[in-house]
């Protein structure tokens, strides 16, 4: 490295560059937050959907599944599961309810969580809400 780029110059690039891009990032964050209402389907967030999100979290669903592509890759994407199951909350509930407690020999299987009917409805409504978030047309097809 030449003498032009001495330690002081390098230090100034570090402080100046970091500060500039930090401020740009905060500006973009502000703008993004202002734009959320157009995309995030917030109108659908009811008490029941909030309860569904809590159940989603407290049973660590993300430990096997992805949701909008984020999570674990052991089990199917669930951001669009409501649509994949024919826009049916009943089908989603029936699937969760019917998991065998002892699993399926040699195959991956979802645990049996013994949810009440209210809880199943909340989870299904939560997944319906997520499926209607505007995600720039991701995933590429219905298989997630």
């Amino acid at each position: 490295m030449s003498e032009v780029l001495n330690k002081t110059v390098a230090r100034n690039i570090y402080y100046g560059g970091s500060l500039f891009f930090l401020l740009l990032f905060l500006g973009l964050t502000f703008h993004t937050n202002a734009n959320f209402p157009e995309r995030d389907n917030r109108g659908a967030i009811t008490e029941q959907v909030a309860q569904g999100k809590r159940l989603w979290e407290e049973n660590n669903c993300i430990g096997c599944h992805t949701l909008l592509g984020e999570g674990a890759y052991f089990a199917p994407e669930l951001g669009n599961v409501y649509k994949r199951f024919g826009n049916s909350t009943e089908a989603v509930k029936a699937f969760i309810k019917s998991r065998p407690a002892q699993g399926i020999p040699n195959r991956r299987s979802m645990p049996q969580f013994n949810f009440s009917d209210d809880e199943l409805e909340a989870l299904a409504q939560f997944l319906k809400y997520v499926s209607e978030i505007k995600t720039a047309n991701w995933p590429p097809n219905i298989q997630g």
């Binding site: 330690k7 560059g17 891009f21 669903c61 909008l68 890759y73 978030i133």
Partner: protein
């Protein structure tokens, strides 16, 4: 060892290696569950094994970072640590809290753990990598504050070098960004947006400051190259890290309900993220080439060079592979992500912690400068076994990912997820096989600490 209080680093390093072993064991369990779906079901379902695998990784890296700071900061600041007592106390608090949390994952259903830790009062659980009960998160903050107080005062009252200032900047950033783990809105888009402020701004932001400063310290010590030269490199590396990495967060904002312009910001800036890693490789090799002395600890130098190369491959190359928005449209949330995750964490953060352990541990155990040659040879076998098996693990997951994308997303007749998983099983078997080799490499590495030298003394 120049300062008595540096010795508090030792238990931190030992705990880090112990938890590392646990992490890999659970990795092997998960790898087997990928091919034998009912393995250990329902006793240890996949999600539990994964939580243990990822949380142990985070905790042992934090032990490693703290150990590194306790070791190098007194030397850099040229004074004893402010309070060795506090450092010892925090070690036990962190170890007990971490162990209890992992036991909670293993012995209780996760919903039960949420219940007894009062998640309903302040829900923060159940998000990837942030699965810890809220009370554990509070514990992490307490330990972090006590730690920052301890090293912060040491630096304030002592000599300020670029190495210790950059290190503490990174560590303060780490603690600060972790606070976003307490923000958990019902709105999934908002939740995900700020979740990345912990995850991305850690591993592609402030952690790189920690990585850079530890690497700089070890290279100063082992090569004898002028500090001024190394500090200039360090500034350039971390400048490029933050200039590219902060806006680079945008590569996580393509498909989660965020505005489309993030596809441009994210693609352009994250495409530049390999630059600091590339500079790191050039830095490490050129400094070692210009070395003014032959340090007897050859293993530590090997780890330092390995960190540069593997971080560049894992974070830089494998990150770039799927970071452009049109590519990421297909790769998002597939085994490609898993491939990148494994090599980048190993190359950047596992290897830097093993670098500082390799350098510091012989000194902490009272050796003059390095372990016996015999012990170093064993340690280097551990290095190569782990590193080469991680390269293959990444390649197998990449192959699995490409097939998965084709069969599930790109072909004219897309197949369901679970059908595709069965079709690509071969690559999961190969992954598990090299995973076993990685574990053998880790055992060899651990063994190197117990190798007796020619006079029969333990290494």
């Amino acid at each position: 060892m120049q300062y008595q209080s540096q010795s508090v680093a030792k238990p931190y390093f030992i705990a880090a290696i112990g938890l590392f072993i646990g992490q890999i064991l659970f990795g092997l369990v998960m790898g087997l569950q990928y091919v034998l779906g009912d393995f250990l079901f329902p006793t240890i379902p996949f999600n539990v094994a994964r939580m243990v695998h990822t949380n142990l990784l985070i905790v042992w890296l934090l032990f490693g970072f703290m150990g590194a700071a306790y070791y190098l900061i007194p030397e850099e600041a040229e004074r004893e640590l402010e309070s060795p007592m506090l450092a010892k106390l925090m070690f036990w608090i962190f170890l007990v809290a971490g162990s209890l949390t992992v036991l909670g994952y293993l012995l209780l259903p996760y919903a039960g753990l949420a219940k007894i830790t009062g998640n309903a009062l302040f829900p923060t659980m159940g998000r990837e990598f942030l699965e810890q009960p809220t009370i554990t998160k509070v514990g992490i903050v307490v330990v972090a504050l006590a730690f920052l107080y301890n090293i912060g005062l040491t630096i304030l009252k002592g000599r300020k070098t670029v190495v210790n200032i950059v290190l503490i900047t990174g560590l303060i950033g780490l603690a600060l960004m972790f606070l976003f783990s307490f923000y958990n809105p019902d709105n999934v888009v908002k939740d995900k947006f700020y979740w990345w402020w912990v995850v991305h701004l850690w591993v592609e932001g402030v952690w790189e400051l920690i990585l850079g400063s530890i690497l700089a310290y070890v290279l100063i010590k082992t090569t004898g190259v002028d500090r001024e030269v190394i500090e200039k490199w360090l500034y350039i590396i971390i400048a490029m890290t933050l200039i590219t990495g902060i806006i680079g967060t945008g590569h996580h904002y393509y498909w989660i309900g965020t505005p489309d312009y993030w596809q441009w910001f994210g693609s352009v800036f994250s495409a530049l993220e390999p630059i600091p890693f590339f500079i790191m490789v050039v830095f490490a090799f050129s400094v070692v080439n210009k070395r003014r002395r032959e340090h007897p600890n050859k293993a530590a130098v090997l780890w330092a060079l390995g960190t540069g190369v593997m971080a560049f491959l894992g974070a830089g190359v494998w990150g770039f592979l799927h970071t452009l928005a049109p590519v990421n449209y297909y790769t998002h949330g597939t085994q490609i992500t898993a491939a990148h995750g494994h090599m980048s964490f190993y190359g950047a953060y596992v290897m830097i912690v093993l670098t500082i352990i390799s350098y510091a541990m012989p000194l902490l155990r009272g050796r003059a400068a390095a372990n016996s040659n015999k012990a170093q040879v064993v340690e280097m076998w551990g290095f190569w076994l782990m590193t080469v098996s991680m390269v293959f693990l990444t390649l197998f997951l990449t192959a699995a990912g490409i097939l998965q994308i084709y069969l599930q997303r790109a072909s004219d007749t897309p197949l369901p997820f679970i059908v595709v998983q069965e079709k690509i099983e071969l690559f999961y078997w190969l992954r598990e096989a090299v995973g076993v080799v990685f574990f053998i490499g880790l055992m060899v590495y651990v063994w190197s600490f117990f190798v007796k030298d020619e006079e029969g003394k333990s290494a």
